[in-house]
Symmetry: C2
Amino acid sequence: MFRQPQRRRAMTRLVIPLEKTRLSGVKKCSKMACRLLDKSSAEELIHTTDNFLFDCDGVLWDGKGVIPGSPETIAKLKALGKRVFYVTNNSSKTRKEYVLQCQKFGFDATEEEFASTSYVSALYLKNLDFKDKVYVVGNPAMATELDACGIKYTGIGPDPLHGNLDDWLKMELDPQVKCVLVGFDSHLSYMKIMKAATYLQNPDCLFLATNEDTHLPVNNCPIRIPGTGTMVKAVAWPAQREPVVMGKPEPSMFEVLRKTHGLDPARTVMVGDRLNTDIGLAKVCGLKSLLVLTGVAKMSDLPKNNVEKSCGVGDCSELPDLYTSSLGNLGAFI
Amino acid sequence: MFRQPQRRRAMTRLVIPLEKTRLSGVKKCSKMACRLLDKSSAEELIHTTDNFLFDCDGVLWDGKGVIPGSPETIAKLKALGKRVFYVTNNSSKTRKEYVLQCQKFGFDATEEEFASTSYVSALYLKNLDFKDKVYVVGNPAMATELDACGIKYTGIGPDPLHGNLDDWLKMELDPQVKCVLVGFDSHLSYMKIMKAATYLQNPDCLFLATNEDTHLPVNNCPIRIPGTGTMVKAVAWPAQREPVVMGKPEPSMFEVLRKTHGLDPARTVMVGDRLNTDIGLAKVCGLKSLLVLTGVAKMSDLPKNNVEKSCGVGDCSELPDLYTSSLGNLGAFI
């Protein structure tokens, strides 16, 4: 049922072929143990790693504020001469806003150290030399990053329900739109979904998504805060199309950092709180991985004896090399 | 990733086990031809069939009005003493409203002849002796049918975005809610999705959906009108749960008619415009099937030589026994 436009084949300038990287990721983790971080493994990690990539929500901070110990760990790594980067699926902040948030929480960070999905989506279109218009189901941060890359767009902001079926059938759409980009949008509405799904009936219209996260990590709170995957699924189903996804575990964000800063995957670690995105990215790109338990993943999500038994793709592609209760532990060991 | 509450096992009073019916459906259609309706096959159909089940949108009418020839065909069938029923996935009308719409378009119909997903959802909960409250992502017709069955509910109507993450985390929800029911809701909003996904974090909370249609059938119009599946996917993804679906191709709606009116599946035909819902229902319930091409399915969706070659489940479970360009042709042959 799902059709993918031919054009997708020409869209891989930024990304490495998924099948190849995924297979190599699976191969690398075969029969690898998932170990608790201790002084010995922390020292080994420091010794063999130049580049530390951090997810933000659930690792550095969460909905309630900074996660204790995280700023000190980042500072220690930088003092040791390690390069630090921030790789976040969150599309609702610009890189500039992330730097301000870092400063507020006591992290030292620059714009160049950030790869967010709002930034990478805009860069992806710029690298395609995309000259048409984007229909965005998204947020102002995505607009800012598109502006910075000189990409035309429409759709940001509220678009509440109006009219009825007769009115909708007469709706006039923008003939310049040749891409639908879906990111986090708390203004999600039936009108937006209808417009996006209609644009996507044109097989030449690109379909991009910043990420497919299920929900935002919020510790010890019963409220489920829907993530960007909510908006993506709401558009993909009526359109009967599948998007090209920018966010983790897809490799685009690491590729941007690798090309810009010349990172060696073998001397890079991804630190995150989610198995299916952060640890998934590490496996796809051949990075080392450290899981922290201050966000989405819980101890119960790991194999009971901490050693992988069966190496089915579904298991080992999301099993971290190391895990620890919080990022502060890494700082305490070094 | 998807969890289904234990309670589901006790919820099958209305439905027949899916695996069994699906397997029997697959068996029945093995190597069966998909034939163009002609005078001979129309007469054979009339001779061997007592009960005619009709989908509505795309068969009797579409977004632009009545489909020519359909009212005359229904009238001829009734004149021959055939029993006529209407089986629609559309949840946005009550049975009473459907009868009025039928009268407006020249169809003779009674409430008892209608099985709509709004009605069957309410009946499903009533038959479970459900005494708690339902959180409805839906529409006023669903409220009316729930009222008629004495089921308490909340959530109908607009619930626009308000507040920010801090406010959402303090949101107070209704402790009486033990079921989330999703149907067509053009007021779909981030707040509704958040509430539904939060209720569904309780594994004892039931998750029902009226149907999962991708879009509404609208002939010759480029606008894609998102169907109820849009709302269902938007709730299911952040909740990481899969619903029990009332609508076609799931058997609940036929089961209601069968039990109420004593229908013999072997002497019943399902007439519809969609392979994956209407024809799917026929296969699941062991009914004969007639596809009309006035709605979603197009000639290009059928095998080129009109005879099924491979009998993989994905193919034969949606291949009709007969097809015709419009329902009026059946009337013309009888």
